[in-house]
Amino acid sequence: MKVELKNLTKIFPSRSKKAGEEVVAVNDFTFTIPDGKLIGLLGPSGCGKSTTLYMISGLQKPSGGQIFFGEEDVTDLSAEHRGVGLVFQNYALYPHMTVKQNIMFPLQNLKGADKLPKEEMIERAHQAAKLVQIDNLMDRKPSELSGGQQQRVAIARALVKMPKVLLLDEPLSNLDARLRLQTREEIRRIQKETGITTIFVTHDQEEAMSISDMIVVMKLGVVQQIGKPQEVYDDPINLFVAKFLGTPPINVFNGTVKGGKLYIGDAAVLDVPGVEDQDVTVGIRPEGFIPDKKGALVCNLSNIEVMGRDVSVVSTHEASLSPAIRSIIDADDMPAPGATVSYSLKPHKVFLFGREDEKRIYFEVK
């Protein structure tokens, strides 16, 4: 089922009576989520991603705009009638019920024509449990499960009623690093197997990039960029998106464009044809540096971290906006130890942004 958001807006009124203190949590969000895809809503905390999710679930009412499931306008439909599955950040498993009772609970709510016989409820609970591989834990209470197992129960409970849309709120944030990797693969697998349109919220860009078909990057309630993870990474439309995606993060410099050339400090480091002369902010991905003795960008070398296949070179530069520049280089090209390291740059890994508006300035890549 495709999910369509039209000018979705959520404004929280101010707590005090004073005007002008209201918070715009989500501002004019328009996006059509294609059927059967896994979408990651990504952004720092307070960017409105969870609010968006709760509006889609029906637990929060939008202040403006519309939500469509397929062709049906569900904006005014309450949560219980939308047929969504929602997995909460803390799972919200009922502590007094066993795993089986928890999973069966949504089925027992069905009324009228949808009502299922008991055997079928048990059968479907077992299918859902099998899908998330917890069918051997059916008689335990949530308190007797590990975090990862609780997470699976929560997913099974959301899936058992075969929702049109599956919503996950920070599904991995309560798991340890190892389990997080494993569980995110698991979520991807379950989503592929069931083909349910899935929207999940995360502040972890790596998590979002690794499993999503598409990501939506948000900041302060405003959608910044929507696209396939790789496209967004390779082609950020502003400095925020460029900074938010990628580990290690993008390196940011103060730069100047003069006569079609990009200057960082005094050195002309790259040809940027078609860009007017102006002050810019330069973003260079860690993998955009090529060690080159004749390279124009000369940095003070502080440290070389060997990571096996790659090395990470930490250096400093006076024009850099962050205290350290981090570049990822193939181990074979490891620069010689010394006081400085010189780089030439891969043009498609260099992004220019307006100094004031932080918007992307495009140049021709030869």
Binding site: L59, Y94, H96
Partner: protein, 314 residues
């Protein structure tokens, strides 16, 4: 454990508390036991030199054979098994409703808590006035004037004849009704307070989850709210039963020290009332009754705990 060089110091620090406990808690308990098993014990007789009492179960026999005892036991049981379920259920409903409304919640909470801080004798007298119905012949020759309380006036609006709730010639059922209404009303605030506190500590996400899963309100109440509150409900029921067995002052408040409507004293007497009555001249019998009451409370509380262990979920 830290080994003290001067263990006697610890005893000195504890002494004030221990002395008070010994005098006002331990000794009365011991003394009650002693008096209960000394046949026909009474304090006046005990002061006469040379008088001794036989040790035995005579006091208990007297209690059970005493005419009013079964009435007292029956009334007490009736109070417990009527008022505790009713007040617990009502308190649960009110707490859920209070928890659901935002505006004026604080104020309503205070209003609902008021009976708790009001003197129960005073409340009883107000109830007595509310349920009053006095007929007299002073209005004129052969004319019967009826002075009715607010309850009779209210039911009068619906065309119901005034009911003699608590006055001379009133029925036992009417008496019990007033008593139950009063005790339930008096027991509500504490229960509401406990249950509301429990409700406010329940994670809201359970309700969001239930909502997304399409759970009806009634089902949410029975399948989520009640189980999650079960520890508080168990607490409220257990303390409710104990309070019910010790009920005395509310009856005094409504019916006066005679523990019944004029003309039929002791009709609504309770276990504690029985003990009070015996206390003046038959301290041995009073002690035996107190022990019996203790035994009943003990057994009922054990049953309560056993049930709640099976039914509560934490």
């Amino acid at each position: 454990m830290v080994e003290s060089k001067h263990p006697w110091k610890a005893w000195i620090y504890l002494a004030p508390a221990i002395v008070l406990l010994l005098i006002f808690t331990v000794w009365p308990i011991v003394n009650t036991l002693r008096m209960a098993f000394l046949e026909n014990y009474n304090i006046m007789a005990a002061t006469v030199p040379g008088v001794t009492f036989n040790v035995g179960l005579g006091n208990f026999q007297q209690v059970i054979q005493y005419g009013g005892f079964l009435t007292c036991l029956g009334n007490t049981m009736l109070i417990c098994f009527l008022t505790v379920p009713i007040s617990t259920f009502l308190a649960l409903i009110i707490a859920v409703c209070l928890n659901a409304i935002r505006p004026l919640q604080r104020m309503l909470q205070t209003i609902f808590f008021l009976p708790y801080v009001t003197n129960s004798i005073a409340i009883g007298m107000v109830f007595a006035a509310m349920f009053n119905m006095i007929g007299n012949n002073f209005g004129g020759e052969g004319e019967l004037l009826i002075t009715a309380g607010i309850i009779n006036n209210i039911i009068g609006i619906f065309g119901v004849e005034p009911i003699n709730w608590i006055n001379v010639g009133s029925s036992y059922a009417a008496n019990v009704f007033v008593m139950v209404v009063y005790i339930v009303w008096n027991a509500l605030p504490f229960k509401i307070l406990i249950l509301l506190g429990g409700l406010q500590s329940v994670n809201k996400q359970y309700y969001d989850a239930a909502k997304v899963d399409g759970t009806s309100r009634v089902r949410t109440f029975w399948r989520i709210t009640v189980p999650l509150l079960s520890p508080m409900i168990a607490y409220v029921v257990i303390t409710g039963f104990i309070g019910g067995f010790k009920e005395y002052s509310s009856i005094v408040g409504i019916f006066g020290e005679d523990m019944g409507p004029t003309g039929d004293p002791r009709r609504l007497n309770t276990m504690v009332g029985f003990i009070y009555d015996a206390l003046a001249n038959h301290q041995g019998r009073a002690s035996a009754a107190a022990l019996i009451l203790f035994g009943i409370i003990f057994v009922v509380t054990m049953i309560n705990l056993w049930v709640s262990k099976k039914k509560t979920h934490y």
